[in-house]
Amino acid sequence: MTIKSVTSLLAHADDNMVLAQRLGELISNAPELEIDIALGNTALDHLGVARALYTHAGNTEGKGRSEDELAMFRTEREYTNLLLVEQPNGDFAHTMVRQLFFDAYQMELWRDLSTFSDTTLAGIAARALKEATYHMRFSSGWVTRLGDGTEESHRRAQDGVNALWQYTSEMFEGEAEHYHPAWSTTIESALIEAGLDPVADPYQRTGGRSGFHTEYLGFLLAEMQWVQRSYPGLKW
């Protein structure tokens, strides 16, 4: 298959939109200035990917829905992002583990989509692949440093892995199944490098792709959408 359905385009857009919003919460709150800027830059990249995909989904759908309408006027049940990206930031180790899990998945996704015959999607993917690669140097570098750092940083990184592992297999549902082996290889070696233990518990939570979310997404969307919902069409 070398094109994507509107449903699928929206799911990938939602992943990037929600993670951009989560990372945006850390701007002015990160542990140090360089990290603050890095997280802000990463959030902007995710937002840019989301915007391009929303626009493309709207054009593909052909009902005249703009990127803003798709981002600001769809409800929690209509959002089909992964549960992983809506999880709260937690501490910095938690944020970096979430980013690593997602970056490794995005690299497989964009590498694949960059070869699609839908050239708009292929172009967006080719650009996003370079960005995901760049983000992953940051997230994997920090997971290594934290896992292989002090007793305290190791404990926090391991807590992040333990808490977030249950949201990982959702990334590989349906048509994304073939990304799983490469992702597993990447993540296994990253965890070994960081001295972190893989999670033995097979329990996995899913539902995001069908619009069934954890309690956190509603609050995130409420904060993100309230201005447009209170004053529809407002611009500045």
Partner: protein, 165 residues
């Protein structure tokens, strides 16, 4: 180069503008974050078409996270309005994806003069102030989506590095 300085910049309309003038006007728009570079230098200006009273400017976005893209679209429209051409269409094309290889040689020279090391592999990177080849990275993510922050170990000055992309 602003529209007012363009040769022969008497007022025209979308019906009377020549392709040469249209191309010049579009190519004169600068990056708001790096005002020494035009969108032509950056390689994001893909085409300018004048067709039966319509002017269509096609651009390709740089980094997904570049907030200057929207500003540049507005600036293209404004640059044409300034010489009397209303309703210019700015079309975004994502394929093929932009690369720093598309920055012209002239653009790379201007970047260096502006104090930003142009995109090269990290091994080939030299300080734009003193040309020493021993810079170290301070932060992989710099002041804008397109730049990393370096410091020169010879002259001690920090400088921006355009990320190879």
């Amino acid at each position: 180069m602003g529209a007012a300085e363009l040769p022969g910049s008497e007022m025209v309309t979308a019906a009377t503008i020549s392709i040469v003038t249209a191309r010049k006007v579009a190519a004169s728009v600068v990056d708001p974050e790096i005002p020494v570079l035009t969108i032509d230098d950056l390689g994001i200006l893909r085409s300018v078409v004048v067709d039966e009273g319509r002017v269509i400017v096609t651009i390709t976005p740089t980094y997904s996270g570049c907030p200057a893209m929207g500003q540049m679209e507005d600036d293209i429209v404004t640059a044409f309005e300034r010489i009397g051409v209303e309703g210019v269409e700015v079309v975004t094309v994502h394929f093929p994806a932009w690369s720093t290889d598309w920055i012209s040689e002239d653009g790379q020279r201007k970047l260096r003069q502006f104090g930003i090391a142009p995109a090269v592999s990290e091994q080939d990177l030299t300080c734009p102030r003193c040309d020493a080849s021993t810079p170290t990275m301070i932060a992989r993510f710099g002041s804008t989506a397109c730049k990393a922050l370096m410091v020169c170990s010879s002259c001690g000055e920090p400088f921006d590095f355009f990320k190879p992309f």
